[in-house]
């Protein structure tokens, strides 16, 4: 059974600009997006900044009205039956806003428990459990304004679980968490899925999506460009291998030149500390190394390796370009 069904969803933002004459500008944030998420599935929504992930999630959580298309959650329409959808879903948006900073974690949770009509007795038991779950025990009576970014993020998660929703929307839940915290959170998410919750997760981290999600939709410029299991997405690039070259001071026009080479499928450039890492996707494998070096003459080069493509490479190929 499908817990979430999205059909041709579209969302346009209007924003005005200018002081005297306010010009209205339209941004199409989401265009013709369709997918379904099965009951109990952990579904990933992946895409670069501004791809439309948050917009999609906000439409599904009844916070934005779609400009076109439709979506249902547990067979309830997110616009017409918004009132019935709300008690059944929980959500968090990455970041630190959306909490009462002048109150303690405990007070924040108590307040939202009442807003979700959680029975007082139940809330009294569940709130300490949730605080324990997200690892805020011992600090729960302090004001949120004194929390670190990660602590606030975890408080958001506790809040989203207060009413034990069947469907969860997690928009960049690990944003701002340290590696250990992020790993703990991924375990939590996994456990939630084992508890048969349907989860939509957005993230920028490929390995996170790879490790957690049963299926992944890649969204770019408001459109879904791929939707499959992580394994199948990787197969898309299986015929290729990746050559990584450490370079120093790569001029942009040289990247463009390499892109045009016949044996090159995709190029990306990543900045790491002192060096830049040039990644070239090619069907030629190790054979490509001398040809590539020839095209990089005059540049100081570091380590050169070839490796199997990862999900990240598949993603880079899908959304294209250097990042």
């Amino acid at each position: 059974m499908d817990a979430i069904i999205v059909r041709n969803l579209r969302r346009v933002y209007k924003s005005s600009d200018g002081i005297i004459k306010r010009k209205v500008k339209e941004v199409v944030a989401v265009e013709d997006v369709s997918f379904e998420i099965h009951q109990g599935e952990l579904f990933g929504l992946l895409g670069p900044n501004g791809a439309g992930k948050t917009t999609t999630v906000k439409m599904l959580t009844t916070l934005l009205i779609p400009s076109g298309g439709s979506a249902t959650i547990l067979d309830l329409d997110v616009v017409k039956d918004a009132g019935k959808v709300r008690p059944r879903i929980g959500f968090i948006f990455g970041g630190e806003r959306g909490l009462y900073w002048r109150l303690s974690a405990l007070d924040n949770l108590r307040y939202f428990a009442s807003l979700y009509y959680v029975d007082t007795q139940v809330a009294r038991k569940r709130i300490p459990e949730l605080i324990e779950l997200v690892g805020l025990q011992g600090r729960e009576r302090e004001k949120v304004e004194g929390y670190s970014r990660g602590m606030r993020q975890r408080l958001h998660i506790a809040r989203a679980l207060l009413h034990d929703p069947q469907v969860l929307f997690l928009d960049e839940p690990t944003m701002g968490l340290d590696p250990v915290g992020a790993r703990e959170l991924r375990t939590t998410v996994k456990n939630l899925q084992s508890a048969n919750k349907t989860i939509l997760l957005t993230t920028h981290y490929m390995f996170e999506a790879d490790a957690l999600c049963q299926r992944i939709a890649v969204i770019n410029k408001g459109r879904i460009v791929a939707l499959d299991t992580p394994e199948r997405l990787k197969e898309n690039v299986q015929d290729l291998s990746v050559v990584e070259v450490e370079v120093y001071g790569m001029p942009p026009d040289q990247i463009e030149k390499i892109k045009t080479l016949e044996w090159v499928v995709e190029v990306s450039l990543e900045n790491r500390d002192q060096v830049q890492v040039l990644q070239v996707h090619t069907p030629k494998g190790a054979e490509a190394i001398p040809m590539l070096v020839e095209n990089l003459n005059g540049l100081r080069l570091g380590r050169i390796i070839t490796r199997e493509p990862t999900l990240e490479d598949a993603y880079v190929r899908l959304v294209g370009g250097a990042k």
């Binding site: 002081i19 005297i20 900073w101 002048r102 304004e145």
Partner: protein, 277 residues
């Protein structure tokens, strides 16, 4: 010799840089104002709000004495409008940084704090003067205010100095806005304190002695007195001593505000409270 030339060019560079920072500050606080207020609402609040305040005090005055002494309240409250721009406008342009979360960047940048700071106040001084003219305009239109005896130059000077000194208070309040969530209520309180103590609505001589002491320490009090004297036909030399004191108060407040800004900046960096709100 070369040393002096280098020093001179360095100096020139610093002056031009700071001038730029000054005008950028002025420009951005102007832009912030108009992002917040579109021209129509700005005019409405600039023209209508003063009128309602004036009416309120003129009627309390009429109720109290049974006679019509509108000019007293009209002059007093017109100058209060200068304070209103000074306090609310300047606070918004400093406090706005906190709400938009740009404060850490502001504190992080190497720009000269003084130029940045005073640049922000500059537009609001012009705005405040406009407020005084509008107030007096309403007085002439509706409350038979008579300006025929007034020396226009002296009046203009009085208005300029008073607006300056109240925006000094605004800078001080603006700094407070960096540490409170709800600065508008604080501002309102200061504003009401000025309504009482400045002599705008109650003659300072009628206040109890301890309140007179406060009144004499605040900006605006002397400005109101000068304006009344001039409109009654007094000369510039007559008001000069008071006007100089008003100017001095303005300078002291601006310097105080500047130092508080610095202190807060250092404090915030030390305590890491930059984006707490």
């Amino acid at each position: 010799m070369l040393h002096w030339i280098l020093w001179g060019t360095d100096m020139m560079e610093r002056i031009s840089r700071n001038t730029r920072i000054f005008f950028e500050g002025a420009f951005y606080s102007y832009k912030a104002l108009f992002r917040w207020l579109n021209p129509a609402t700005y005019l409405a609040s600039k023209v209508l709000a003063p009128l309602t305040i004036m009416i309120f005090f003129v009627f309390i005055g009429a109720y109290a004495s049974g006679s019509n002494n509108a000019s007293f309240y009209v002059i007093g409250n017109s100058l209060i409008f200068a304070a209103s721009s000074g306090i609310f406008g300047v606070t918004m342009s400093v406090g706005g940084e906190r709400w938009t979360g740009t404060l850490p960047y502001l504190f992080g940048c190497p720009a000269n704090r003084g130029a940045m700071f005073i640049g922000r106040a500059f537009m609001h001084i012009l705005d405040g003067m406009l407020g005084v003219f509008i107030g007096l305009g309403w007085g002439i239109l509706l409350f038979k205010l008579d300006l025929s005896q007034a020396n226009p130059l002296a009046l203009l000077l009085t208005i300029l100095v008073t607006t300056f000194s109240t925006s000094g208070l605004g800078l001080l309040m603006g700094c407070l806005s960096l540490i409170t969530r709800n600065v508008m209520l604080v501002n309102n309180t200061v504003y009401f304190a000025l309504l009482i103590f400045s002599g705008a609505n109650i003659p300072v001589e009628e206040l109890p002695a301890w309140m007179q002491v406060i009144a004499n320490g605040l900006p605006l009090t002397r400005g109101v007195a000068c304006a009344r004297t001039i409109i009654a036909g007094g000369s510039l030399t007559e008001i000069m001593p008071l006007l100089k004191e008003e100017l001095l108060i303005g300078i002291i407040l601006t310097i105080l505000g500047y130092f508080l800004f610095k202190v807060f900046e250092i404090q915030a960096k030390k305590l890491g409270t930059l984006d707490i709100f």
